[in-house]
């Protein structure tokens, strides 16, 4: 039986050279870890780490109808972003179910960059192609560019010095395009770890040079393992685990990415208006174990003897030294303080609903 060939990012050789353990992920051969998940996790929390995120979908949408066309597909009012601003948003179906959670950056008046989950890149491309108006062209940048996320309290300073750029001027969620030693570079003050940092996009061939510069500047290479523990501590949901087409943004508690009050129509708006009016039927709650044991995705959540939900993401929190997880619960049970148990291979693990996020970086 032969499996379909895995795709490799422009940084594949760099990962192998660093001794990464490579694993299949969403059709790509990606580094799971280099030195160890906990070591990489702590590098991001204490200093700076970087992730090859070239597997994520990148689409440029350009043309006089780009802003209006994207507004009709995104839950967030991306047409109101000023050039140099970005925002998190959802692509929803008519029922308000999430097709993908994305980041949208406005590069200039008629040019946007859409960043999609790797597993959904094909779906997002087809959705955009099917629904964007003629005045909004789609350019797939997935294979022609490299994307690296540099995260941690020292990430911005180290990147600025290593690349001779003033990335510290970027506001949160801000973005810019600039020239650097190897060509053109896109930078945004965003990430998926709960830390300050930047996400960088350069031409595919310039990827290794960017990676090596950052490595030489002391940024620690981090794999998908640490990416998952970091995003879980930040209580950031992951498509395919916490999100699918049966989930709506209000159930995730992410109303900040839904603009219903500008009156502008978008696919899914009517359904989401109803959800907002009636209130979500369930909420993604943060669970923290109060005893030893590890909750993982798929484990049942109980209140007394009654199963009230399932863990959608779970694991060990290196920063807290205990197990954490997320799962959908009926709204009354999703309130912080609720005591529940998770069935860990037949044994009850006591957990408590806690406020989001699990971990917040100390103020500088």
């Amino acid at each position: 039986m032969s499996e379909p060939a895995l795709l490799r990012t422009p940084l594949y050789e760099e990962h192998v050279r660093l001794g990464a353990r490579m694993v299949p992920f969403a059709g790509w051969e990606m580094p799971l870890q280099y030195r160890g998940i906990i070591e990489e996790h702590m590098a991001v929390r204490k200093a700076a780490g970087m992730f090859d995120v070239s597997h994520m979908g990148r689409f440029e949408v350009r043309g006089p109808e780009a802003a209006a066309g994207l507004r009709r597909l995104c839950t967030y009012a991306v047409d109101r972003l000023a050039p140099g601003q970005g925002h998190y948003a959802f692509l929803c179906n008519e029922g308000g179910g999430i097709l993908d959670d994305i980041y949208v950056f406005r590069l200039d008046r008629d040019r946007f960059l859409v960043v999609a989950n790797a597993a959904n890149a094909g779906k997002v491309r087809r959705w955009l192609e099917a629904h964007l108006p003629p005045g909004a062209g789609l350019i797939d940048r997935h294979r022609s560019t490299t994307m690296v996320a540099v995260q941690g309290p020292q990430a911005v300073a180290i990147c600025s010095a290593a690349l001779a750029l003033s990335l510290g001027d970027l506001p949160r969620r801000g973005c810019m395009e600039t020239a650097w030693a190897e060509g053109t570079l896109f930078a945004s003050r965003t990430g998926y770890t709960g830390e300050d940092g930047v996400e960088l996009v350069v031409e595919a061939e310039a990827g290794p040079a960017l990676w090596r510069r950052l490595l030489a500047a002391g940024v620690v290479a981090c794999g998908l393992g640490a990416r998952d523990t970091l995003r879980l501590e930040a209580a950031l949901p992951l498509y395919g685990q916490d999100i699918d087409e049966g989930v709506n943004p209000f159930e995730l508690g992410l109303a900040f990415a839904v603009s219903l009050d500008d009156g502008a129509p978008f696919i899914g708006r009517e359904a989401l208006l109803r959800v907002r009016e009636q209130g979500p039927q369930r909420l993604l709650a943060c669970l923290r174990a109060t005893e030893r044991g590890i909750m993982r995705a798929g484990y049942p959540i109980y209140r007394g003897q009654d199963e009230v939900g399932k863990v959608t993401s779970g694991g060990y929190s290196p920063s807290l030294g205990t197990s954490i997880g997320m799962g959908f619960l009926p709204p009354p049970l999703a309130q912080p303080g609720t005591a529940l148990t998770v069935g860990v291979r037949g044994r009850p693990l006591p957990v408590q609903v806690v406020p989001r996020p699990f971990y917040r970086p100390p103020r500088p």
Binding site: L32, Q33, G36, I37, I38, G225, T229, R292, G293, I294, R296, G315, Y316, P318, R345
Partner: protein, 130 residues
């Protein structure tokens, strides 16, 4: 690196070192490397009876949970309580301070069903290629 010669091994990557009728049990260097950072080890109570190739506990790495299989049958006479606070000892010293349980063997002839170090190394080399 070759596995220690004085131990016997299971296909599930546990080892046992027998001294005076008591077997000390842990997991191999290969196993800890494959699992990655170990964050929790669930061990049985002292006095529990374990059976050869039946589960005696669980080991959780950041990535996943795995069962632990006893290489030998007998009564658990000691457990490594240090792992409760420092599960990473399994990563750092799998054949030493990362040991898990000590079992008073009920049937020493069972040892013949386990692999020698050479056999285990060949088995791992094969598994790594598969």
């Amino acid at each position: 690196m070759p596995s220690p010669k004085d131990l016997r091994y299971t296909k599930e990557h546990e080892w046992v070192r027998v001294e005076d009728g008591t077997g000390t049990v842990g997991i191999t260097d290969y196993a800890q490397d494959q699992l990655g950072d170990i964050v929790y080890v669930k061990l049985p109570e002292i006095g529990t009876t374990v059976k050869q190739m039946e589960t005696f506990g669980e080991i959780e790495s950041v990535k996943a949970v795995s069962d632990l299989y006893s290489p030998v049958s007998g009564e658990v006479v000691e457990v490594n309580a240090e792992l409760e606070e420092r599960p990473e000892l399994v990563n750092l010293d799998p054949y030493g301070r990362g040991w898990m349980i000590r079992v008073r063997l009920s049937d020493p002839s069972e040892l013949e069903r386990l692999m020698t170090a050479d056999e285990y190394d060949a088995y791992v080399a094969e598994e790594a290629q598969a």
